[in-house]
Symmetry: C2
Subunit: 205 residues, 2 copies
């Protein structure tokens, strides 16, 4: 299988020095790359800024912003069978990026706009032979929101995971299948979770 994996955070610049970031470590995406290579798949990874070694054999593209990840995913997805969107993409970004370092001032208003919804965009160009898996990082217990996203983004599987997954070595997830079935995967290492998810992916066809 040819698998496209996104991982890590994105950064949305405010000025040449500051950005809006998020606490994603990329650990889950790193584990997914390892598990997919170990299972004999061809893997392309689109990576936000992270400080992790990525498995040998992965074809890697580094990006910084949600816009760059959007462009990279839409360019790569048609060449792949499966997209696993493990990156924590910024949902919003400053409308204006200042070209000089902002000085300390009394008050500052940062006006933000929504970034492109990459999974929805991939869902719209998905061909009959292709599948997409999304992650839904939600406040504890908010599985209803994950179910909504499964439908809205035209996904084949969504992984609900609570906020404490972020930047953690372990993950306590629930897989939500398109037929409505919930498959809890109680807390385990991200490496173990990744092996299970890559295994489950075959059932999507």
């Amino acid at each position: 299988m040819k698998i496209l994996i996104t991982a890590g955070p994105t950064r949305e610049p405010i000025d040449p020095v500051r950005y809006i970031g998020n606490r994603s470590s990329g650990l889950l995406g790193q584990a997914l790359c390892v598990a997919a290579i170990a299972a004999g798949h061809q893997v392309t990874a689109i990576l936000g800024p992270l400080h992790l070694a990525i498995a040998t054999g992965v074809h890697r593209t580094d990006i910084e912003t949600a816009e760059q990840m959007h462009a990279a995913v839409l360019s790569e997805f048609p060449k792949h069978d499966l997209l696993i969107m493990a990156a924590a993409v910024a949902d919003f970004r400053p409308v204006r990026v200042t070209d000089h370092k902002l000085a300390r001032t009394g008050k500052l208003l940062i006006e933000c706009e929504a970034t492109p919804d990459i999974l929805s965009a991939a869902g719209r160009i998905k061909q009959p032979h292709q599948r997409t898996i999304g992650f839904s990082l939600e406040s504890a217990g908010n599985i209803a929101r994950s179910r909504q996203k499964l439908v809205q983004k035209n996904l084949d599987l969504i992984v609900y995971n609570p906020l404490n997954t972020l930047n953690s070595a372990s993950i306590d997830a629930v897989l939500i299948w398109p037929d409505g079935r919930e498959e809890p995967l109680p807390a385990r290492s991200k490496a173990d979770f990744a092996t299970v998810l890559i295994g489950r992916a075959k059932a999507l066809w």
Copy 2:
């Protein structure tokens, strides 16, 4: 000498997932710790989130926000002879931190306020036997602003460095001494720069 060194960025939370960060890698602070230990000084480091090994023998405190760095510096500075403020402290932070993950919306306004000016606060409690060194990361050529900060923050030495120093392996700096003298230190590795700066520090008494 007992030297207090701050290094790395700070992060200012927007919600449980997002924060305002900056591109500081902590490389310069790391190099200053190495150079100070090598010169036989006692070193305390107050570190923002970074992904670097810190020299053995350094007494280390990890913080995340500007407010936490402010508290740590004011607590530690009285026990030290010299403060070198190499951290890239956020100049502003969100006024309100949302306790749930913000959903993607059409528009979002992040209202920010100034963070405490740590160097100025240290300058105000500085005793006659103590010295403070600041860094001034400015748009290329804006040495006038570094001179202002030297006076405003009651510093004994300020290092002007242009924006491209951030997250770079090298630094192209100018030392500005209180008598107005400018000492250019053309581009060199941060390790070399750190050795020079730790050496120059003795001249501050």
